[in-house]
């Protein structure tokens, strides 16, 4: 039970129902509308959901727990390759999805070793190197991975549905499950612990939180989500090769995370929509599209540090649009909680915090 539900607030229960109802409407629409669309639009929506799951993993890692690990594109690829190879060996798609997720969780969890020793950029670079080792494995995997030439993905299909729609429905179900679990985690003990580790690791330690254990879990969980995204991505693209999981993909993930709103639960969804729509929108700009993309990224970081998820709160507190948005927001029943947390800027992180408050003691040291 989320702790804020324990607070006396007459409206809260009503708001929760409104929220739940709008969520159910949304999911129903997502289940019913896409079959009527053409396969290109189905592809784009599926891609958006795949991106959302993947970025959610990165959010748990970076946005919630403050671990600047950059191995996520590699883990994403690992999910894609593992599931594809398993399917080639006669596995069903859904078992391969789960095993790919769990297998990648174990491998992704290995990044925790540098994470326990390093923080901040050292971890970033070490994990980046880890990711490039993973991609090198795809490259040098011989006939198992198809090497640099890539691997054709055996695409699974429900009878009576097209390939794209089959992938879409599995992706939709995965997205809903992942976000429901993440929502629970975010508002329960796990979320509190993760935020404590991110902002005040030392306070977490003296509160008796087993930080190492949590970090191991967070790295593994993030890798699990990344790999699920990767496995679905492979089904969607039907052909995978190592370059697809290079640093460019990592940059895309970071952009989705921070533009959507790191640390906010729904940030990854906004980020994914943005990434997909943006590419569509900028198509006709030719050579200028990369420039616009980069400048837009700079602009958003500069003026909207909480990402798009913080936009409603921003508008609400601003004078002009405030009243209108407040009205809409209360009608749709978005809880105060989400915006309050989403609105706060990106975590200040990185290098472990100084322990000693008394400058007279003159000692600075990290948590062992």
């Amino acid at each position: 039970m989320p702790p804020h539900d324990l607070l006396p607030d007459g409206n809260r229960r009503g708001r929760r129902w409104a929220k739940l109802a709008s969520l159910i409407v949304l999911i129903t629409l997502l289940a019913v509308v896409p079959p009527a669309m053409n396969s290109y639009d189905q592809y784009l929506i599926t891609l958006t959901l795949v991106y959302a799951i993947t970025t959610l993993g990165l959010n748990v890692l970076i946005g919630w727990t403050g671990q600047l690990s950059l191995a996520h594109a590699g883990v994403f690829g690992l999910g894609a390759y593992l599931s594809t190879i398993l399917i080639q060996h006669g596995w069903g798609f859904v078992p391969s999805l789960l095993v790919a997720g769990l297998g990648s969780a174990i491998v992704g969890g290995l990044v925790v070793f540098p994470a326990l020793r390093f923080s901040g950029f050292t971890l970033a670079v070490a994990s980046l190197a880890f990711a490039s080792v993973i991609v090198q494995l795809f490259d040098n995997g011989g006939s198992v991975t198809g090497g640099g030439g890539g691997l054709a993905v055996p695409v699974f299909q429900f009878s009576g549905l097209s390939q794209t729609m089959s992938t879409y429905y599995v992706t939709l179900i995965s997205t809903v499950l992942c976000f429901v679990v993440a929502h629970r985690m975010r508002h329960l003990r796990f979320g509190r612990v993760a935020f404590s580790i991110r902002d005040t690791e030392i306070a977490a330690v003296v509160s008796g939180i087993r930080v190492v254990r949590y970090k191991v879990f967070v790295f593994a969980f993030a890798a699990f989500l990344g790999a699920i995204g990767g496995a679905l991505y492979a089904q969607l693209e039907t052909f995978i090769f190592p370059v697809m999981f290079s640093t460019n993909t990592l940059v895309l993930m970071l952009v989705m995370l921070f533009l959507g709103g790191a640390s906010s639960l729904y940030g990854p969804i906004f980020g994914a929509i943005f990434a997909v729509v943006m590419v569509e929108l900028l198509q006709s700009f030719g050579s200028y599209q990369d420039l616009l993309y980069g400048l837009l990224l700079m602009l958003v970081i500069g003026v909207l540090p909480g990402g798009m998820a913080s936009l409603p709160e921003r508008l609400r507190t601003s004078h002009l649009l405030g009243r209108a948005v407040r009205g809409v927001a209360s009608r749709f029943g978005r809880g105060r909680q989400d915006e309050a947390t989403a609105a706060s800027p990106v975590p200040p992180t990185a290098t472990g915090s100084s322990l000693v408050d008394d400058p007279g003691d003159g000692v600075e040291s990290g948590v062992a």
Partner: protein, 418 residues
Amino acid sequence: MMTFNGHRRRRAAAAVTALAVGSLLAACGSTTSNASGSGSGSSSSSSSVPGITSNTITIGATEPITGKAATAGQGLEAGIKIATQYINAHGGVNGKKINAIILDDGFIQSREIANIRQLVSQDHVYAIVDPAGSQGIAGTWDFMKQAGTPMWGPISPSDPKLPNVYLLVASRTAQQEVAIDYFAKQGLTRIAAIGEDDDLGLSLKDALAQQVPKHPGMKVVANETLPVSTSDVSAAVLAVKNANPQALIISTNNTSVGLILKEMGNLGLHIPAYADQGAANTGGVGAVGPAGSAANGFLGGLQVDLPTSNTQAVQTWRAQAQQYSGPQGLSAFSLQTYMQEMAFVEVLKRMGSDYSWSNFQKTANGLASNPITLGALPPIACGPLPDGHTCGNQSEIAKFDATTQTWSVIQGFTAPQS
């Protein structure tokens, strides 16, 4: 008649508007607007063939018009536009004008896949003609097969042996095999190879494995693999030099080819070096430009005749291309897609008024007995599967003269020795 896709922008704008509302429902908003945007298009022709109306035939392509391969992509785009213009100015095909939708993929593989999906399922093109980007294109085989849309003349992937895919020109592997045969004829037996760590390197490995054993005494003395997009080729060239080869075959992007030639010059390694059309960029400056004087004597493969050639076919193209206002109109890439689209139109003409998929298949698979000869390309002689969809696997070899900055053909269209 060229159109840029109008409702892509409209749909995206609608989606962005929905997004700005800022609620979770934005996701839904964008999807529903997508549905309404495309629904009108799909309902227009239910029984007839996609992309065909009473007065137009719509074809599509995805090219790397921006990004790392922009020079090639702009040339490929130019050829399609020039051919379309020419055909429409001369009455079109059986009275129908060609409408070519060309999308930019920025040489990003996932964009190529998305573009092909858009062309087929949203823009309802009749066929994909001359798309580029070998690895991304391979990611669309499955989708194309399900959609049953012909893919005519994709630029240099290997043959997927699918009923709807027709390769018109020699693949990379076939070109490299021709080069191996050429070296054998010259009495060169110690062959070295440098490939990139992707499909480019893979095609070279295939060529070496298939063709070298056919020449007694020939052996591969060095076989180096470069990381993708490296700028440091020195270790690979040094390893090649230490193996003391008599000839070198390169299969990398053309910047790396240039760097390898330059490094060879620096190290005093003066042996014949060969790269296929994509890598040597015959007719362009991609590889030989940066190499400078070290590119003298460099051998390049040709899938299509040199753009400077004086044959009738090339002259006709050149007259058109000189009118073209965009970039890269006079490049070899332009000539290649121009010729391939001409061949596609020839198939349409031979089909008469029946544009059905089965008639396309029948007509194209029958080209073996009555090939299309356009000049500039070897005869296009498709046949039934399994091997018939590589419609022409002959290639030329040209030599570069660094002082005059020109290529000249030293061996005409030849197929690999079987």
